[in-house]
Each structure stands twice: as C-alpha cells, then as structure tokens.
Amino acid sequence: MANKKMAIIATKGTLDMAYPPFILGSTAAALGYDVQIFFTFYGLQLLRKDLSDVMISPLANPAMPMPIPMPVMVQMLPGMESMATMMMKQKLKKHGVASLEELRDLCLEADVKFIACQMTVDLFEFDKSEFIDNVEYGGAATFLSFAGDTDICLFV
C-alpha cells in the first residue's frame, strides 16, 4: 500500500506559529506519511540556519497567557518582544517541548521535504545562503503537484 501523504503550507514566522508545521511534519513522518512543507512569505524565516530571530509578540495577541495583566501600551515598549520570547522559550524548555531547531532536524532526518517559495525569496530579496541546505526552491505549481495527491493538506 502506498504511503499516506500530508502537505502543509507554512506562512507564519513567529515562534508560536512555527511549531505546528514542524510538530505535525515530524509526527506524520513517524507515522509513515510522506510529508512536504511549503514555506512562503513569513514562513520562510523558519528555514534560516539561525532561528534566534524567530520571536513571539504579546502585541495584538490577546489570547497569549501572561503572568500579569499587561496593557497594550506596555506591550509595545522596546524589549517586550524579546522578553516575551525569552519567557516562552523557558516555558517550552521547562515542559520538555523540543526547540524549533530540534523539531526541524527531526523532520529532515525523517525525510520531510522542505520547499521554499521562490517568488517570496525574490520578493524579500532573501539570501539563500542564510537558509539551511536541505531546501528545494519552487512555486505554487511545484507544491500543488504533491498537494493534489495528499490525504491531508493544511494551511498554517
């Protein structure tokens, strides 16, 4: 029997939104799925060798649990984003949640295929040398040739 297939479009480049594609990708691969993730727009940030700029912001994110209630006027102060990111990373670590780097490596080890949107790479004038090596570059048609035949297709 042919393997099941899953395709994910990753469009967000924040710490919280970086997790679902990598968690689902690595898990599906462990379950025997063929997996492809198409990274486009801000999702391209998740392909950088250095993921330390992937952050979370409390701004415009009213559902984010905060240790103390924090007015929006305070959330917008310089340094709040770095602080929120640091606290979130500490929390993830404390709960035994893998880092993004670790999950991404697990995806690659399990042959999850990463496709970077060539159009967005050009649009944002990204330097491909800043991205990890195991990436293919392609467009919507490249993605759809796999996605059209999948059991699960998600937009994150």
Binding site: S26, T27, G32, A98, A110
Partner: protein
C-alpha cells in the same frame, strides 16, 4: 514483561515520545519489544494512535507512579 530495548522519554512533550519511539523501532527487528517510559499524559492516546496507524502492536500500557510504561512490539 520482557523487552529488547528501552526508551527513556521522561520529561519530553509531544511529539518527542512518538518520534523517538519511531526512531528506536527503526533499528529493531520484527517481533522485538520496545519498552517506552513517558511522563507525558498525552502519550497514552498518542502511543495507541501510533500503533494503530503504523501496525506495530501496543502490547500493554501501564501507569506506575505518575509514569506511563508502554510495550510496543515491532511489526
């Protein structure tokens, strides 16, 4: 229960217990049994789902002192 290999997944959260189970099974042979110890409550349902979808047999699930012990037999 007898087992051939043990995986310590204590302290790890989703999806690591599953992904590491898969990796551990990869270098075992058919019929061998992997013992997995996890502290992740979610792994109880996840290990059953993993077994169902991959065809490996989940021989037993036991909770001992807040830890979950799984015996998974490789397909």
């Amino acid at each position: 229960m007898n087992f051939d290999k043990e995986l310590n997944a204590r302290g790890l959260s989703c999806p690591l217990p599953i992904v590491k189970t898969k990796k551990s099974l990869a270098d075992m042979t058919t019929g061998q049994v992997l013992k997995v110890i996890s502290t992740d409550t979610g792994s109880v349902k996840d290990m059953a789902a993993f077994a169902e979808q991959t065809g490996n047999a989940l021989l037993s699930t036991v909770e001992e002192n807040g830890e979950f012990v799984f015996y998974m037999q490789k397909k």
